[in-house]
């Protein structure tokens, strides 16, 4: 009998916990979107939570999802690794830049290739060069890794090289940056493109990939900081209308605290200066 009572109490406690979990916690923020921003945002959120009484949920799903979620009110702020379009601005969405990033082409570290011209990138992605021997490299079939539609990395890449989505002859379509990096790291004939921050971070942790220079400029955070890297983009938090006080406080923290600045640099991004 005694154990029964204890058991019953435990059950009641469990039910109460579950019910309590159903009502939205008053002090919590949800951020969804870009897989480029999500990893660094998750860490910033952990530091922020420790100092402020607020919970922050960070979910990755691509910039398109971030903007969609904030538009529908499903998230307090969206993460978008691109500038907003005029249509989005007209809807009343606002972008708050927290850092800058670029996009770089990556190849397997065994590939002796040192540089690609713009024409070669276009020819590769249109399937006109399907073996590395065409570039006087050891013969090996080219494996084109592309990003899935709705990803801002894809949009910026297409825009920069004057390509259309349907012109691209992809061998592998990946969602997240990490999937592109793992695919290229496992395939000596592969070429892909990802966030420079993600690529440099992976390279320094030993992934078998290498970033390629573009127009003779090496892919580094310095090149992004001084504006010479051609494939630049802002990393934004997107809100509907003016940010509320909670989001505003988070933005201030990201832009001005030394912890957030250090994390942004750790992830090989360039902190926003304003």
């Amino acid at each position: 009998m005694r154990t029964n009572k204890v058991f019953m109490r435990l059950q009641c406690a469990l039910v109460i916990t579950i019910l309590a979990g159903c009502s939205p916690a008053p002090d919590s923020l949800s951020l969804t979107g870009s897989s480029t921003i999500a990893p660094v945002m998750t860490e910033i959120a952990q530091h922020y939570e420790a100092e402020h009484k607020i919970r922050i949920d960070v979910q990755s799903g691509g910039s398109g999802r971030g903007i969609q979620d904030v538009r529908q009110g499903l998230a307090d702020a969206g993460m978008a690794s691109r500038a907003l379009t005029p249509t989005e601005l007209a809807e009343g969405l606002q972008a708050h830049t927290i850092a800058y990033d670029g996009i770089a082409l990556i190849i397997h570290s065994d590939n002796p290739l040192t540089e690609l011209s713009r024409e070669q990138v276009v020819a590769l992605y249109q399937g006109k060069i399907d073996n590395w021997s065409a570039l006087s490299l050891p013969a090996r079939p080219v494996v084109i890794v592309n990003k899935a539609e709705g990803r801002s990395t894809l949009e910026l890449f297409l825009q920069e090289f004057g390509l259309k989505s349907e012109q691209i002859k992809a061998d592998v379509v990946a969602g997240e940056n990490q999937q592109v990096i793992l695919t290229v790291a496992g395939n000596s004939g592969a070429v892909g493109y990802v966030s420079i921050g993600a690529a440099l971070a992976a390279e320094s942790s030993g992934a078998t990939i290498r970033t390629l220079p573009l127009d003779g400029i090496p892919a580094t955070t310095e090149a992004i900081a001084n504006g010479s890297w051609p494939l630049q983009r802002p990393l934004n938090l997107v809100t509907r209308g003016q940010p509320d006080t909670d989001i505003d406080a988070l933005l201030q923290y990201i832009r001005h605290s030394s912890d957030a600045r250090r994390l942004i640099l750790d992830y090989q991004f360039v902190p926003a200066t304003n």
């Binding site: 029964n4 799903g61 691509g62 910039s63 398109g64 999802r65 903007i67 969609q68 079939p141 494996v143 899935a148 539609e149 709705g150 990803r151 989505s165 349907e166 992809a170 061998d171 592998v172 379509v173 990946a174 969602g175 999937q179 793992l182 695919t183 496992g186 395939n187 004939g189 592969a190």
Partner: protein
């Protein structure tokens, strides 16, 4: 006293248990209904283009082309190939466990299969992406392919297959086993004449159920299948499955596109229901 055919529980604790069970059942049934109804409702706007979806292979959501045939073929081929890889292997492993393995090894092996069944699918996917895809790439690039996806899914359904067939084999009555032993049958004949006839139906059902699991698998497939929307011309070509497509695109999909994704969800639900019906039909 009540006259209903179901005797009402009288004891207080009995009644509590009854209420809890009733609530749980209702919740499950309601959830399933809600899920089906809401998926179908959200797919309704896409119904006018159902024929286009089922017969065309052009999938370009941003330019309004919604042909799903290539992805339907992708889902079916990955699942069928996975099943044809996993089913014979599961049968052999289960038969070995029941008839050939040293008795001391049986319990640890069962635990091993249970552990395998508990590994999250994304771990299988990561393993596939880091080890399997480069291997298949040696065979023919790009490595991320129908074959890689089928192997990963086969590994995921294999432990369930082994455990389910194994439980069937264990339920063969002791008298039947003793009779076979007394007849002096060698083990293979014992399996063919006694075990297999008594477990065949169950084993087939177990594997058909795994087809339902295979076609629903998402994350692991997304990581190793290559996700290119095109009819595969060989097992080494990349494919995109319906589930991988939903995971890749639901994030940014706007209204019309979203309805098409829900429609592919309805198709998957139908396949799952058909699979269940197939298992339930013959006794």
């Amino acid at each position: 006293m009540t006259t209903s055919s179901f005797p009402q529980p009288t004891d207080r604790r009995d009644r509590l248990l009854f209420v809890l069970c009733a609530i749980s059942t209702l919740v499950v049934v309601a959830l399933l209904l809600l899920l089906t109804v809401s998926t179908v409702l959200k797919a309704v706007p896409a119904l006018p283009s159902l024929t286009q979806a089922l017969t065309e292979t052009n999938w370009a959501p941003l330019s309004g082309q919604f042909g799903m045939l290539a992805m339907i073929v992708g889902s079916l081929t990955v699942s069928l190939l996975a099943l044809s890889l996993a089913a014979p292997l599961a049968l052999i492993l289960a038969a070995w466990l029941a008839l050939y393995s040293p008795p001391l090894l049986r319990a640890p092996l069962r635990t091993l299969y249970e552990l395998m069944a508990g590994i999250p699918s994304v771990v299988y996917g990561l393993w596939g992406l880091i080890l399997l895809v480069p291997l298949v790439n040696q065979l023919a690039p790009p490595g991320a392919s129908l074959l890689s996806a089928a192997i990963v899914v086969a590994l995921m359904i294999l432990p369930y297959g082994v455990l389910l067939i194994d439980s069937r084999l264990q339920s063969v009555p002791l008298t039947a086993r003793q009779a076979a032993l007394a007849a002096g049958l060698p083990r293979f004949a014992m399996f063919r004449a006694v075990y297999w006839p008594m477990t065949r139906d169950g084993a087939v059902k177990a594997m058909v159920l795994q087809f339902g699991r295979a076609i629903g698998e998402t994350m692991a497939v997304l990581m190793v299948a290559g996700n290119v929307v095109a009819l595969p011309d060989s097992v080494l070509a990349p494919v995109r499955t319906l589930t991988a497509n939903i995971a890749l695109e639901m994030g940014y999909a706007d209204d019309g596109h979203r309805a098409m994704l829900y429609l592919s969800g309805v198709l998957l639900l139908l396949v799952a229901m058909l699979t269940m019906a197939l298992v339930r039909r013959n006794p």
